[in-house]
Amino acid sequence: MPERSGSATIGSKLPRLDSPAKAQGQAVYVADLQPQDALAAALLRSPHPFARIVSIDIGDAKQMPGVRAIAYSGNTPAKSLDFGIKDQLLFPRDLVRYAGEPVAAIAAETEDQARAAATAVKVAYEPLAPVLSIEEALAPGAPLVHPDWQSYEKGANRVTDRNICGLNRIRRGDVTAALARADAVVESSFIFSAGAPGYLEPRAAIALREPDGGLTVWCGSQSPYGNRDDLADFFGLDPQRVRFINQFVGGGFGGKILMAAEWYAAALALQCDRPVRLVFSRHEDGLNLFPRHGGKATFRSGASKEGRLLGMEAAFFFDTGAYVGYGAGTALIATMLASAPYRIPAVDLSATLVYTNKQVAGSVRAPGGPQATFAKELHIDELALALGMDPLEFRLRNAWQDGDRSPTGQLLEGVRVKETLEEAARAIGWEARRAPGRGVGIACSWWFSACGRSEARVEVRDDGSVHVHSGNPEVGTGSAAGALPLIVADRLGIDPTAIVLTLGDTATQTYDGGVGGSASTFSAGQAVKAAAEDVRRQLLERAEEALEARRDDIELREGRAQVRGAADHGIPIGELAAQAGTPIAGRGVTEEISDPEFDASLVQSHDFASWLAPSFVTSAAEVEVDASTGRVVVHKIATAQDVGFAVNPAGVVGQIEGGAVQALGYGLCEELQFGPAGIINTGFHDYLLPTIIDAPKVEAIMVESPSGAGPFGMKGVGEPPVTTPAAAIGNAIRNAAGAVPYTVPMTPERVWRAVKDRRDSRI
């Protein structure tokens, strides 16, 4: 329970502050906003995965009843969006590259009128043979998703080659020689299905052109400041006159970093003088989502009979869809994970990003993490089994230790691989004897913390209220709903539940890089801490005078400044603000921290080759497999995670539990399916997220090894716990049933087939 009476300190458990509003239906999401004079918007989307646009005629649509604006390639800027490779326009001009790609947007008096007008926009298409898989994309003579790829502007380190839009590699030592010396060498190939971010709230936006030429956008974004800058830049507006106001966000999981509805509402609003409201249905949201990358990988590794890893080759291919978007991170992270956290003298790790005619894959929670960890950890188990070694023992024998170097030469300190392995194994009962059909598996990995620029403002007003402005939105990370208020409460000696938060409203001028890379508390937490400490200093200064006491004798507690040990000799902090005649305010700024040193000679075209404040994580799973149907029931997942320092343990446990269930979905049932006409399962009736009945018991174990970089020594905690559980489940399935599919999700049919194939091959 929180210490509701008065102050709370960091490290105490604070339940999410936004839960009551959400549970009582009081939380206001974008779609809840219905400005009276708002126009309704609808999109016209391409029905073809790949087609040439012969012509677009909006003549008839313009004449339709109620129509007030139409935005399309003919009346919006022709410049490219910039995601490292300039391969994408806001509205396509010559080619549509995925089924569902928006071709035009219409604003009308009513939604029905907007939809009717959308169907009246005449687009003449010439359908082309689509590229729907990595194999098709890389086949000799394959159709080019971007026939003009050679002419695209691109950043340094970006590799393009026909349907390839990214390629990075980490190489150390001589793998061929190492494998030749090995006593056991195994090779394994894996397939990853694409997945949906799985947030509940479909995307929506409202945009309004302001009389001064500016624009106001109501959104539910992970990155309102970044979105504002992108939008202002694209339409040539002054960013200071563009205001993004974030509402409650019904989950993001990386799927709401880039704009979707915001773009189209804004494009239309710039043509009218009324608010334009665009709300996606679940189906449309499914067509417009940024999926987790599907792909494939091949691993080949060898070890000595004493169980020492000697060499590893890994090659990943990721299907990034029609445009590069934020897809590059997945490939960069995959090579960083491929051989970690193990000492391997010789490695050759590569990842290739491939264009296809599908939705633009993005940065879903821990991009690349579940995929790469699934492959490497099932591969590592296969090697352990080939050596006749216990998989836990094999991992412990090869795990990184303090002072080791990462594959790219980064010096590793505070390494906690061994502790997380031992803790997770203990929690699952690794040594216990189990009934037939039951099994256990384990998987470990590492992850990064990220620190982007973040600004915060903390203010004590004369009524005693404490206001916090941060640019970091609350999308479910629990940062703003828990950790940030806890930090302020800790510094000011106040009740965290009494803090008034304003998040992600760019009018507050508190910039933040947004939710991503497990950076929220790490970045915004430092800014909030600095701002609160500034206020604290000012309060103590004023209290010194008011109480005629020495500053060292004054403490801030329960909303008051008081002389230590003399509770009646004090003054409410609001009173101090009243005496000042102005709110007592402080600002805090976190500067971006650059990544640590590494050995550049070991990498090729790699932008993310060393990791700030790395953390270590292990999951263990216990499962029951019905081999004759392939049904898998996960009884328990134990995740031991190095969190540095748990600012709000309740929040950390929430992230670990949520990560376990989300990873269970990734591992067992979630799969975006594509037919010739695009995504088949856009809704949650057919896209199978795990239900609460599928959720296993989750044991969250926090290992705390303070980082030098994060506030209070913390590390990023949001992403690591979704990376390891699917792999642990896979290894547990093999332990229980003697076989496991090397394809995620491991559906019952795939498990049944894997077991059957193994039986058949024995006969």
């Binding site: 149907t629 049932c669 088949i680 399962n681 199978l688 239900t691 009945i693 599928d694 559906t747 087939r753």
Partner: protein, 286 residues
């Protein structure tokens, strides 16, 4: 679109007559919602049945269990007379969706959804259920559920509604088995209902229904023939399961599963159902 809430079956029939093919009956709406969303255009009238009290009754009379079309899955799963006389149906109802769905989904809606794996249909077909139909042309007729499903499948959308389902009450053994990819809120990949009368070790009047392996719920007549009238043994159970999978089932590949896997599931689930229902017969229990 117009909206109606008739209080009596007759009122509903008048509306059906008036609006013809533009009329849609609404029960729990858990299935109709999808249809309306994807194609609401040719719907002229929505006729909500919820006020028709008589369609909510459950009663046992003269060896027949009569269940009103508006009875929800949750009530079927929990009502004592149903649990006593048609445990197979109660079990199938309890396996549907999850509590939220069960509380609104009705048996009439389940039957009329036209899904090849509707749990209640699979169970009712195995129970030898009949349905009582109220219609504009013919005020009331009672016919086997299977026949009525056939009629509907052939496309004649008569101006009718299901009033009640009748389940014969007899001594029997039964079991229900189904397979899904996650543990709630999903239609079965394959569902199997088994029901038979026991005479010592011999089975009579065996009825096996299969869901998810054809265009509609199917009877596994081949498997039924293997078991009927003969003493049950582990070998005959296996033989029946194989027959059900290889001869009776007509699965196809689709986005959710391959035909091969569905066929395999039929084998496994039919054998399991027989074992669960007749586990006391020597050599049958696993």
């Amino acid at each position: 679109m117009q909206y109606f809430e008739p209080n009596f079956v007759d009122e509903a029939l008048v509306l059906l007559d008036r609006f013809g093919s533009g009329a849609r009956l609404l029960a729990g709406g858990t299935r109709l919602g999808f249809a309306l969303r994807s194609d609401p255009r040719d719907v002229a009238a929505l006729i909500n049945l919820k006020r028709i009290r008589e369609l909510e009754r459950v009663e046992e009379r003269d060896g027949t269990l009569r269940i009103g079309a508006l009875v929800t899955a949750q009530r079927i799963a929990t009502t004592p007379v149903i649990r006593e006389h048609a445990p197979l149906l109660a079990r199938a109802a309890g396996s549907m969706g999850a509590r939220q769905l069960r509380s609104i989904a009705t048996v009439g809606g389940n039957i009329c959804s036209g899904d090849p794996a509707s749990d209640l249909v699979v169970a009712l077909v195995a129970c030898g259920a009949r349905c009582e139909i109220a219609g504009v042309e013919e005020p009331s007729r009672v016919l086997p559920l299977e026949r009525w499903l056939d009629e509907r499948a052939t496309g004649v959308q008569a101006k009718e509604l299901i009033g009640w389902v009748h389940v014969p009450v007899t001594q029997h053994v039964a079991a229900y088995e189904k397979m899904t990819q996650r543990r709630a809120f999903e239609m079965a990949l394959v569902a199997v209902a088994f029901r038979a009368q026991r005479e010592g070790a011999a089975l009579r009047d065996v009825r096996i229904a299969l869901g998810g392996v054809g265009p509609a719920v199917l009877r596994a007549r081949g498997a039924e023939a293997v078991l009927s009238g003969a003493p049950l043994s582990a070998a005959s159970a296996r033989e029946a399961a194989r027959t059900a999978a290889e001869r009776d089932a007509r699965p196809r590949d689709d986005a959710r599963a391959s035909a091969e896997y569905r066929r395999h599931l039929v084998t496994t689930l039919v054998e399991r159902a027989i074992r669960n229902a007749c586990g006391d017969i020597a050599g049958i229990a696993s």
